[in-house]
């Protein structure tokens, strides 16, 4: 009979469902979202490319002149790159609404000059 009591208790309660697209969801601090590169810090050491378990990072060019291609569609958000980076040039953002229909739009190309273009 405890279900009956439990069910009756729910009538006056606010539904637990989050009305997601309308009501924005918040992620916890420290969430592992899309990684961001700070190209000012990057020294082109190739560690992130070599350690990435899913091959989501490709480094074009060498050393301080290198550019980074980041494939969002391959990324598994493990933050291994952020962990291994010797100069802390990679940070995990809190972005999580990353799904899309077009794979070609999921390439982020970090160039030496300011902004990354999707």
């Amino acid at each position: 009979m405890s279900v009956v009591r439990e069910a009756l208790r729910q009538i006056s309660r606010r539904p637990a469902t989050r009305q997601y697209p309308i009501e924005k969801a918040k992620v916890a601090s420290g969430f592992r979202g899309r990684p961001l590169w700070d190209m000012k810090k990057c020294i082109g050491c190739l560690l992130c490319q070599n350690t990435c378990p899913s091959g989501a990072i490709e480094i074009v060019g060498k050393g301080l002149a290198c550019e980074i291609k980041y494939f969002l569609d391959r990324c598994i958000f493990c933050a291994q790159c952020a962990e291994i980076c010797p100069v802390k040039a990679i940070a995990m953002s809190e972005e999580f609404e990353l799904a899309g229909f077009d794979r070609s739009k999921m390439l982020y190309w970090y160039k030496r000059e300011p902004q990354p273009k999707p």
Partner: protein, 390 residues
């Protein structure tokens, strides 16, 4: 079995079926309402993980191990890093061991409460399903807060853990668990007192003690048949050697007992997390380990939420593993499952199937098959039937 006009009919369950949350196919030979034969077809989620382990580095393999299964991701990584640490002879700092234990128990909590919901749903008790999944959400958010992700925590690394549990995090865990404990007690009571649920679960899916041992059942399936067998107690890993707990088992051998075992394990897990938080030592989180692993072999075992999980690693001195073997609890439980299914009602199939808490992606990890083009094959259970139906 076949008598006169009333021959058997074949009822397929899956690969797409409401009772199965993952793609797997079972064909039931049904005589009236009674199952007389089971033919599972496996492999719908084969990804060739074992071969894939051999072409990646040790660090990359952590994340591959994590993705063998979603629900028990921490169990798989723990098992993997333990195997590698074992070969390396790395001494994991005690604080890291405690953090591993805490995450593992939180994972068990959310996995078992997921199971309680599924079991309720399988017998049409959707209200309880909604309640348990609502409250499970608190644990998921907690894990997100601690580790940075709801499912793939990525807490383990070879030689320790990657993130610390802060004192804030610890108090958050405590307060969440206090609320969760009350809810769990309530649901445990509902499942043990609600007459309609008892009618469906009591005496259903009988797996006798000796059968369970002979057929190699593991985890709550085995403990629900009255065998006190738990890797955490028998072969302590991480910090389990220092946390006092009693292995829970029940003699009933039916689905109800598996339910009770899981409910009690949830309550026990809460106590274990509390104990671990109280006694967590301070210190380093990880030790540095070399990228190449010297030649050697190791067997690592972990009590995943579904039962005994075993990984075997063989290294050859390079940065890549020579042979990696995973034996997931679901595979070990399949022979026992087939034994319990034969002779049951059609209506009881979903509950019995759910009773072992199957995790097919764990089970199917072994071979390499392209998920898009893989075809089906028959796993004739003739020999199993001969063994199991005496």
């Amino acid at each position: 079995m076949k008598m006169g006009y009333a021959s058997t009919i074949r009822v397929p369950f899956g690969p797409q079926h409401p009772a199965l949350k993952e793609p797997e196919n079972f064909i039931f030979e049904v005589d009236g309402d009674i199952v007389v034969g089971v033919t599972p077809r496996l492999g719908y989620v084969h990804r060739g993980a074992e071969k894939a382990f051999e072409i990646r580095t040790y660090v990359q393999n952590i994340y591959l191990a994590e993705r063998v299964c979603g629900i028990c991701s921490h169990a798989h990584t723990t098992c993997y890093v333990q195997a590698v640490e074992d070969i390396l002879g790395a001494q994991v700092p005690p604080r890291a061991k405690y953090i591993r234990t805490i995450i593992a128990e939180l994972e068990r909590l959310h996995s078992h409460s997921l199971w309680v919901g599924i079991a309720a749903h399988e017998v049409g008790f959707d209200t309880l399903f909604m309640y348990t999944w609502r409250d499970r959400e608190a644990i998921m958010s907690l894990l997100e807060e601690i580790s940075g992700n709801r499912v793939h925590y990525a807490m383990n690394t070879i030689g320790g853990v990657r993130r610390d549990i802060t004192s804030e995090g610890a108090s958050k865990i405590r307060s969440t668990l206090d609320a969760f404990e009350k809810r769990t007690k309530e649901y445990a009571k509902i499942m043990q007192t609600e007459r309609t649920f008892l009618k469906r679960a009591q005496g259903v899916g009988i797996l006798k003690k000796q059968d369970a041992i002979d057929l190699g059942a593991v985890g709550p399936t085995l403990r629900g048949s009255g065998v006190k067998n738990d890797v955490r107690a028998g072969d302590p890993y991480a910090a389990y050697g220092e946390i006092p707990f009693e292995v829970i088992s029940h003699e009933g051998c039916d689905v109800l007992c598996r339910t009770i075992v899981r409910c009690e394990e949830m309550l026990q897990s809460i106590d274990m997390v509390r104990f671990a938080l109280d006694h967590i030592p301070t210190g380093d989180l990880r030790v540095k380990v070399p990228p190449a692993v010297s030649a050697g072999e190791a067997v690592s075992r972990v009590e995943a939420p579904r039962g005994e999980l075993m990984h075997y690693a063989k290294s050859n001195g390079t940065t890549k593993v020579e042979r990696y073997k995973i034996r997931s609890p679901t595979l070990a439980n399949i022979p026992a499952l087939c034994k319990t299914l034969i002779g049951s009602h059609i209506a009881d199939i979903p509950l019995i199937l759910a009773g072992i808490d199957p995790c097919f992606s764990c089970m199917d990890r072994m071979a390499f098959i392209d998920s898009k083009t893989n075809e089906r094959w028959i796993w004739s259970m003739e020999e199993l039937k001969r063994k199991t139906v005496k």
